[in-house]
């Protein structure tokens, strides 16, 4: 689909050092890094479509509850309706409107996902950058701390923190974020390890830049690609992890709700009221799938090596 386009894009990114360049100079427009990335991303049709759907779902989750005729706590519909004009996703045995519940569930699940991402990227990225930049003993100690966290079972930590605290969105996000940042730290550290050997870091150091400046002004911005991709993966992973916690009763607790909790509550009624099981499940998949595709498109856009060109 994009062989011709992508080869021209790479020439913009790294001006070819051949004689060809002289002829091209007049036709090639100067583009900044983010413009190049944006152009590559926009060419990935699946990713762009996914971004639009994901954006729509987010807006729906946060604005939908104000517009929809039922509230998620309302019990004014008939019980166990499969489908009706005012209950497009049906109702449960108590008479909750499933669409209202799914809207609320999406909102809570997305809140968890965004909080987790904020936490794990916020802690993990600087942590990994610092470990990778210093290397040696500091790196070794920092990474051993990560190893300890990786051996802790998520379900025990959740059990210890969620039990007795009622499993609010905040607690669930805290549990997932506090264990999740390790992955981000490792990814960023890997990128920084290869970056720090490059000349521009040496140049910055020669100019007298301090550690803080080098980490935050030089290393992290250059790791942006990896971090942004990691953010999308975190969102998807957090949505799924929240569902997993709900399955074991360690996620968001009733009377509040989340997509994971909705699916889990419907698990035993899957024979009699299957729609209760399938609708929230489909929404989980839709959210995770679209954000995963966005991440895939971003990865391709940031990393031209992943695009195979005919030579």
């Amino acid at each position: 689909m994009s062989d011709i386009q992508s080869s021209s894009a790479t020439q913009v990114a790294t001006p070819a050092g051949s004689g060809e360049r002289v002829e091209r100079e007049f036709t090639v427009k100067e583009r900044r890094q983010w413009q190049i990335v944006l152009r590559r991303f926009l060419r990935h049709r699946l990713a762009v479509t996914s971004l639009i759907i994901f954006g729509f779902l987010v807006v729906l989750a946060f604005i939908g509850p104000y517009l929809w005729i039922h509230q998620y706590t309302d019990l004014d519909s008939g019980s166990s309706i499969r489908f009706s004009g005012s209950n497009p996703m049906g109702t449960d045995s108590l008479g909750h409107d499933l669409f209202a519940q799914v809207l609320r569930g999406m909102q809570q699940s997305l809140k968890v996902a965004f909080l987790v991402t904020l936490l794990s990227t916020g802690i993990g990225a600087p942590y990994g950058a610092i470990a990778g930049y210093f290397g040696g003993r500091i790196d070794a100690i920092m990474m051993r701390i990560c190893d300890v966290l990786l051996t802790l079972p998520l379900f025990l930590v959740a059990g210890a923190l969620v039990t007795g605290r009622g499993g609010s969105v905040l607690t669930v996000a805290l549990v997932l974020g506090l264990l999740g940042w390790v992955v981000d730290a490792r990814v960023v550290r890997g990128v920084v390890l290869s970056l720090r050997e490059q000349e521009f870091i040496e140049a910055a150091r020669a100019l007298g830049a301090g550690t803080v400046r080098i980490v935050f002004r030089h290393l992290l911005p250059n790791a942006t690609g990896a971090i942004i991709v990691q953010i999308t993966l975190n969102i998807a992973a957090a949505i799924l992890a929240e569902a997993g916690l709900s399955f074991l009763g360690l996620g968001v607790q009733a009377p509040d709700t989340s997509l994971g909790l909705l699916v889990n509550q419907a698990r035993l009624a899957v024979d009699t009221r299957p729609w209760l099981f399938y609708w929230p499940g489909v929404m989980i998949i839709l959210i995770a799938l679209t954000i995963n595709f966005v991440g895939d498109g971003l990865r391709d856009a940031f990393d031209p090596r992943q695009t195979r060109q005919r030579r």
Binding site: D147, V270, N292, Q306
Partner: protein
């Protein structure tokens, strides 16, 4: 290499110790085991019984002393500590469940790796073809499904099939039948019938991530200079692809698989819960629910051990397979 291995093992010991201290403390916060065990009994449990239980589980000693005693008994006497159920032996339970989980994990991993390599390589060699898009799409769908949703879906399908055909082909609960019929053939059918559903659901989830990984690693290889050189030398395309490309692209896969196996030995929690597969994951869930502290500690040591060994094996394999990497 030997010095490197020894150093790595030595580093792992403090990691496991610190983790066990944290877990020991965390179990305090999950709740009171005695409360959990005896609450709501009618007639109420005599105070003497409760006092005995507390003494047996060392609940009234200071936490540091509890931890110290546990560690001492484990290292010196191989004693895993008392379980909430007085009759349970944690060590025996763990070794039994480890085997049950390994049976599940090994088959699932094998299936996932083989599928992932095939589709990953096909995807990479035909990047942006219809085939690539299909595999990518399928992979992402499995990547985006909650584990218990896939498992439940498979379970429903199997129940439907069993009822539809009147044959009990798939077993949806447990690792073995409660009352297995005698005979070698029945035993095999019994084990296989119970294995198939949890294996498929575990394999699908693992496959999704691995196939993406294999595709990326193959793409990276395909774009490398030595591949271009091999083609330029005029080698047969198939030979270039298999001998020069695939062999290199499989190296990261071996390490990732080693890590993956290690990680799910302790943690196929959800798959095991849905299918009531009495392995390590279910043991953890059960122990946490009962606040069975020493059982959780035992689980942590076993799973931690496998994570550490898995990491080590992965690194050493990498060094052996890829001559560019040498450990000092």
């Amino acid at each position: 290499m030997i010095a490197y291995t020894i150093r790595r093992v030595l580093v792992s010991i403090p990691i496991l110790l610190v983790a066990s201290m944290i877990v020991f403390t965390l179990t305090l916060f999950t709740g009171d085991p005695i409360q959990e065990k005896y609450a709501g009994r009618n007639p109420p449990v005599p105070a003497q019984t409760i006092a005995n239980e507390r003494a047996r589980l060392h609940l009234d000693e200071p936490i540091v002393k509890q931890y110290g005693n546990w560690l001492k008994n484990l290292v010196l006497h191989g004693d895993w500590g008392p379980s909430i159920n007085g009759t349970d032996d944690i060590g025996a339970e763990l070794s039994h469940r480890l085997l049950v989980t390994v049976r599940l994990v090994m088959v699932a991993m094998l299936l996932a790796v083989v599928l992932a390599v095939i589709t990953g390589v096909l995807s990479a060699t035909r990047q942006y073809s219809k085939l690539d898009y299909s595999f990518t799409f399928i992979g992402f769908v499995f990547l985006s499904m909650p584990t218990f949703w896939i498992a439940q879906l498979l379970k429903q399908g199997a129940i439907g099939y069993n009822e539809g055909t009147g044959n009990r082909v798939f077993f949806t609960l447990g690792a073995r039948a409660d009352h297995p019929e005698p005979g070698a053939w029945n035993t095999v059918a019994d084990i296989f019938g119970h294995l198939i559903l949890p294996t498929i659901s575990l394999a699908l989830i693992t496959y999704a991530a691995l196939s993406r990984f294999q595709r990326a690693s193959m793409l990276e290889v395909l774009n490398s200079d030595y591949m271009r050189l091999a083609r330029a030398k005029g080698l047969a395309p198939r030979r270039v692809l298999v001998r020069h490309g695939l062999r290199t692209a499989l190296i990261p896969m071996t390490t990732v698989s080693a890590l993956g196996i290690a990680a799910i030995i302790g943690g196929a929690v959800i798959t095991e819960s849905v299918f009531q597969w009495n392995g390590m994951g279910l043991y953890l869930v059960k122990s946490i629910a009962l606040h069975d502290r020493y059982a959780v500690m035992g689980w942590l040591l076993i799973s931690g051990f496998f994570v550490i060994v898995g990491n080590l094996v992965a690194d050493i394999l990498y060094g052996i397979l890829d001559p560019r990497i040498r450990y000092e």
